[in-house]
């Protein structure tokens, strides 16, 4: 036998039960959505961590390069005049230092060996400066060549292809800087000394003081130009530091958002449980009401 629900209270109770059941479904859905959002946020956090680690490693490499350049500059600068002054003192052609010559020669076992040694050191100092320039360029390339997105200014598009193009200072360009002051204007005369052993030996035997002074001047300019790279590297370090700070802020916000979403998810789970229990509670109240009404 079907009976109609006559009591208004029963209807209200049924509406409350329905409300709590719906609310339970709704919060279950919210939990699923939060879980989905958390998954996406965690993916973003992993990418952000990777990006920061990459930027930190890049920044360390550029910082190390800066200190390498500083050290090269400092050490080479300290002994910049040492060998040429030795040569001037021991060279018989300098009348101004002649009075020193005899005095100092007494303390040297073999003047010939000493002079040969000084000349060798002058060339080696020059070769060291050339090698340092090449090393710096190679280090710069190994660091920058994979970061076209971060440093587009060091890349150029040629025939639709991206090419690494970090500013370089050529050896001939540096030679040109002091060419007017040099005795010999032939760049190759000194350039070959860095790779041709025979020319190296010939130079020791045949170069006159003017040639040695040319090498000294050229080496001096080479060392001065170590600072050329710092013009680019130092602003890049500032740029990377600022970028890392902003990326870390973004990551910190992500972490905070993940924590917030996690606790929201837990709240939703609890609200869903409370809704379920409330719906059961009102169902029982409805049963009770129906039985009492029958009485």
């Amino acid at each position: 036998m079907r009976r109609k629900i006559s009591s208004n209270t029963s209807v209200i109770l049924i509406i409350i039960i329905a409300g709590f059941t719906l609310s339970s479904y709704f919060f279950d859905q919210m939990v699923i959505r939060k879980e989905d959002k958390l998954r996406n946020l965690n993916i973003k956090l992993s990418s952000s961590n990777l990006e920061i680690a990459d930027l930190n490693s890049l920044n360390n490499q550029v910082e190390d390069l800066k200190y390498f350049i500083y050290d090269e500059f400092f050490l080479k600068k300290r002994y910049r005049n040492y060998w040429i002054k030795n040569l001037i003192i021991l060279d018989k052609n300098f009348k101004e230092t002649q009075y020193l010559n005899s005095e100092i020669q007494e303390s040297i076992n073999s003047v010939y060996i000493a002079i040969t040694d000084i000349k060798t050191r002058i060339i080696e100092y020059y070769i060291d400066a050339v090698v340092a320039h090449n090393t710096i360029n190679l280090k710069i390339k190994s660091i920058y060549q994979f970061y076209d997105k971060l440093f587009p200014q060091y890349f150029e598009m040629v025939d639709g292809e991206l090419h690494y193009n970090f500013p370089e200072i050529g050896f001939s360009e540096m030679f040109e800087e002091i060419k007017d002051r040099l005795n010999s204007k032939d760049f190759n005369k000194y350039a070959v000394l860095s790779y041709d052993d025979q020319k190296f030996d010939d130079a020791i035997e045949n170069f006159n003081f003017n040639d040695w002074y040319d090498i000294y001047q050229y080496s001096y300019v080479l060392v001065n130009n170590f600072e050329f790279y710092l013009k680019y590297i130092e602003p890049d370090i500032d740029f990377l530091n600022n970028l890392i700070v902003s990326k870390e802020e973004y990551r910190d916000n992500l972490i905070a958002e993940i924590t917030k979403n996690n606790s929201h998810k837990n709240f939703f789970i609890l609200v869903s449980i409370i809704s379920q229990i409330s719906s059961l509670l009102f169902l029982l109240i409805l049963f009770r009401l129906l039985i009492i009404n029958k009485k």
């Binding site: 005049n81 303390s107 972490i255 606790s263 229990i277 039985i291």
Partner: protein, 299 residues
């Protein structure tokens, strides 16, 4: 379907005659359990709120702690570099100064040649540090800077007065030498221009090893390096202290979260058990209503 079930249930409830009292006891027990379960769920809700607050606090502490750890490793590296530089410089300087006593070396390397590049490199390092710190608005070598004042206030609570004095002195000492470095013109030690032979001969002849200005500038630069080393060590000590303090706080927070979480777990378990009993009570009514309905149909 639901409404069909409800109609059957309704007719069953109306048909209860004999066991009406028993049914009411069951229902009352169910209501009591559900009120208990709702209360338990609300308690876990409150606990969850507490956990959430503590978790947020924990996250910010962990971020701060990881930043401190990075700074600590940076300072450790810098101190190592400074100590290495001091050691190399001292070794080289004493040897070179000894060689200055020989006739040849006194002429071939002048005080300006030897000390100049070091002075230039120190002033440049100092400018770099200054530029880096000023960017964040922190005048690290000014004891009256608000950040330094806050740091001093902080360490006064946990360090001995002797240690606080050492920390303050380390800042004052660096400041003293930075004032002196500010007066040095780097152009004097940049040696941009290539000397001509005449200049070189003049230098050889004058053999001025101890040009007083250069000598003073060199030792001011060296003292700056010593002062920076001491300041870095003091700052590292402060960072380590702050790191340990954060670590303790992190551990306490973790402990709190774990115990709150355990409590929440237990309460939720109780809630589920209660919910299960309520569910059984309801199911008893639902199943009985079906059985009664079927029986009536058969009859």
């Amino acid at each position: 379907m639901r409404s069909f079930r409800f109609t059957i249930l309704q007719s069953f409830l109306f048909s209860i005659n004999k066991n009406q009292r028993k049914a009411l006891i069951f229902i009352n027990a169910g209501i009591f359990l559900s009120i208990f379960a709702v209360s338990a769920a609300i308690v876990s809700f409150v606990i969850e709120k507490k956990i959430s607050q503590k978790q947020e606090e924990l996250i910010y502490l962990q971020i701060q702690s990881s930043e401190n750890a990075q700074l600590m490793s940076y300072f450790e590296n810098e101190i190592n570099k400074i100590e290495q530089s001091i050691s190399l410089e001292e070794d080289d300087r004493v040897k070179t100064e000894y060689l200055f006593n020989t006739k040849l070396n006194s002429r071939t390397i002048s005080g300006t040649d030897y000390y100049g590049p070091f002075i230039y490199s120190m002033v440049k390092d100092y400018n770099d540090i200054q530029k880096y710190l000023e960017k964040d608005g922190y005048d690290a070598f000014n004891i009256n800077d608000p950040i330094n004042q806050a740091l001093i206030e902080m360490i006064e609570e946990s360090w001995t007065s002797e240690e606080v004095k050492e920390f303050k002195n380390s800042i004052l000492e660096v400041k003293k030498y930075t004032n002196q470095l500010d007066d040095i013109d780097t152009k004097d030690y940049h040696f941009k221009e290539v000397p001509n032979v005449k200049d070189l001969i003049t230098e050889i002849k004058s053999y001025e090893i101890t040009n007083e200005v250069v000598y003073d500038d060199y030792f001011e630069s060296l003292r700056f390096l010593f002062a920076i080393r001491i300041w870095s060590k003091q700052f590292l000590k402060l960072l380590k202290g702050s790191f340990a303090y954060d670590k303790d706080n992190i551990n306490n927070l973790k402990q709190d979260i774990i115990s709150l979480s355990n409590l929440e777990k237990k309460i939720i378990l109780i809630t589920f058990v209660l919910q299960f009993f309520i569910f059984i009570i309801i199911q008893i009514f639902e199943i009985n209503s079906f059985v009664t309905h079927i029986k009536k149909k058969i009859l």
